[in-house]
């Protein structure tokens, strides 16, 4: 690889990583409340299709994004209800949500007399800065060559970080995920905190989904997001439940994804490797990172919320 390729890879990593940042930060917020929502894939797909639809109808990108977030949150509300109010097994509920969301998104893409499938988007997110600072070598494109949602993703990660560790509400959120009984005794409304943050997580997953259909590949196709929802769940662990680390984890993954494409175009001997094997690269990377991070004494420092996945019932003993 030469220099241009390196920059190209890094630039592409930012693009591929951006939807993952939204979804991962969303899932971090959800899990910090003690709720495991494995339905990210479903929520992202719903966000992708409704966001695309919203922009398709109005030509307005912001409207599409808002619709995607609302619909992502709406889907997560189902999970919130089953896991917080009904206290069913969160893994089962989350997996059901993933399957349901995927099916529904695919159906919505084909439904109606004028199905969305195959259509290009009426609008798409473009880089904000053209010329000027964006043309500075290397740092220009890497820092200033992106579309608005990339900058929004940095803002979201920064804001989530501040919220979690520097605000009173963030303190309640962390306490609810660690030890809901103690939080309740201290006067925190555990269910309310959990509901709110599951919805926030859903909205961010929806936003991540919309990034695919409105920025990365602005056409509606049946399988627009790959396995991004599942990857986001893994990245939460990789990021050890800290929003800032999610940015780096997402870009690392984005880079790995990009590198496998680049390798395929490099010619001999790389092109001899079956592309299906290369496609595994990012996942192998994720697995290795997880093993390294979660093995031995480091696991305890990881910071998984202690009450993650455990239903809470005030009068339980």
């Amino acid at each position: 690889m030469n220099d241009t390729q390196l920059i190209l890879t890094m630039f592409a990593a930012v693009g591929l990583g951006t939807p993952l940042i939204f979804a991962t930060v969303g899932e971090i917020i959800t899990e910090r409340a003690g709720i495991l929502n494995l339905g990210v894939q479903g929520m992202m797909l719903i966000g992708a299709v409704t966001g695309f639809w919203g922009t398709f109808q109005t030509g307005n990108l912001v409207f599409g994004v808002v619709i995607a977030m609302v619909c992502g949150a709406a889907l997560s509300a189902v999970h919130a209800f089953t896991s917080i109010t009904l206290r069913v097994n969160q893994i089962v509920s989350g997996l059901a949500l993933a399957l349901f969301g995927s099916g529904l998104a695919s159906f919505l893409g084909r439904a109606g007399s004028e199905p969305l499938v195959g259509h290009p988007s009426r609008a798409q997110f473009e880089p904000i800065f053209t010329g000027g600072i964006a043309d500075i070598p290397i740092v220009g494109p890497l820092l200033f060559g992106h579309d608005p949602l990339v900058y929004l993703s940095w803002l979201v990660a920064g804001a989530a970080s501040y919220y979690l560790f520097r605000t009173r509400m963030g303190l309640s959120l962390r306490a609810v995920g660690e030890d809901p009984a103690s939080a309740e005794a201290a006067g925190v409304h555990v269910s309310k905190v959990r509901y709110v943050h599951v919805l926030i997580g859903g909205a961010l997953a929806g936003l991540g989904g919309a990034y695919f259909s409105l920025a990365l590949t602005p056409t509606w196709q049946d399988d627009p997001i790959g396995a991004a929802g599942w990857i986001a769940i893994a990245l939460v662990i990789l990021a050890s439940w800290r929003p800032w680390r999610a940015v780096f984890a997402a870009y690392l993954f984005g880079a790995a994804e990009r590198v496998q494409f680049t390798l395929q175009t490099l010619g001999e001997p790389w092109s001899d490797i079956p592309s299906t094997l290369l496609a595994m690269l990012p996942f192998i990377l994720a697995i290795i990172a997880m093993i390294v991070l979660t093995s031995g004494k480091r696991a305890r420092l990881l910071g998984a919320p202690s009450a993650l996945g455990v239903p809470y019932f005030r009068e339980q003993r």
């Binding site: 962390r174 660690e178 309740e184 201290a186």
Partner: protein, 515 residues
Amino acid sequence: MTTDAPTDAETDLAVELRNVDKAFYGVKANDNVNFRLARGEVHALLGENGAGKSTLCSILAGLYRPDAGEMFLNGAPTVFKSPKDALASGVGMIYQHFRLVPNLTVAENFALGHPSTGIRLDQKKLQEEAAELGDRYGLPIDPSARIWQLSVGEQQRVEILKLLYRNVDVLILDEPTAVLTPQESKQLFKTMRQMADEGRSVIFVSHKLREVKEVSDSVTVLRHGRNVGGVATADAEAEDLARMMVGRDLVLPARTDTTQPGSVVLAVTDLRVEGDRGLEVVSGVSFEVRAGEIVGIAGVSGNGQRELALGLNGLRTPTAGRVFITNFDVTKASVLAHIYAGMSYVPQNRLGVGLAPGLTTEENLALKAFRQPPYSRGRRLVPSAFRSEGARQIEQYDVRGVRPGLPIRLLSGGNLQKALIAREIEMGPKVLILHSPTRGLDVGATQTVRQLALAERARGVGVLLISEDLDELLALSDRLLVMYEGEIVGQMNTEDATAERLGLLMAGKRQGEQT
């Protein structure tokens, strides 16, 4: 104890409960309870394990919603939907099992749920406020320490200050002294008095009648969920209170004979064990326990007792030293090998280490012996044996409140302990380790547990009794060892021991240094 112009007794009530009912799974934990708490008093709540004390307290604190009944706060009808409501109305509770978030700091625990305005969490300001509050009440704390780093005594201090930070008028303390050293209890009583003198009301739950006599103004007694009467503390002797609680006279058993102990069943030489955080907390401990004697280990909790017990029964492999059960070297052996060599262990942490909270009582009773007949035939389990053996042991060891098919964690503390001891004794051990066996137990259950320990001794079992309760150590042990900072700092025959002498050793004054 003064309020603004109390016209009659009614207006002087801080809290009143009328006809309160609360049932769990069809069992009435509170049955038509009436309860009155005056302003400026320390009010003790007494009752056997499972009598419904914690339930009543939790209703007052808004944690449980009563099935029926009314509550009046300062004379006005009130409904608490959550602890948040209760705290906002000035009612706060310190639970039997502390409610502090372990990996947050002291100051963060103060701020948690606090209704102050502002969204920013100002760590520096919070820590200053926390430290200042601690100084004001003579309860020093380190506001930047994380809860898991604190001893139970310190954690309790944090709990009290947390409620004072909320400025509560009614303070509920559910068995606060069960985990405290005598000195810490003394300090707590002082704080309670101070709060009562400020016009606040304190509810105090305890099984120790001596403490109730010492600190409370009045007493309410619960039995089987019902209020069976209240008295002014000054009007009742400890024996009267015990009779009200259990409905009969009680004498706590003590060792009376001095038998000649037999051969050595447990020999420990220069044992070293690490604590949870990798530091050595048992530093070269050596002692022997002979058949038919009870050896007591006194010491303030956190001086390595827990790790010593873990090291002795294989739950944690010692870093150095030797452990022999009779003449088997079990130093590095598995837990199962320890069990087969004849060691039984009643840990301090009954639920979790001792019992599996989610399994039924029958299953828990068989948890160690299930590999052998009658519980299994070959590789197959025999369900009927679980039932019949379970029923026999539940009957024989007087485990009350067992509901078939429901998890054991629903039992009250005393009954959990009886079930646990039943299982350990049924293994027919040569060595029995008892760690704080009567902590949190009512007088009746304490009596049963002490009798069981003495019966095992009479049967020729070597008993190692690890405890902070000096009365109990002096009543049961043949010999006493004192543990301080991971070492044995003193040894004596019980005949030569006094509470004062033990207290000094427990505080770290070595035998030679005493005058």
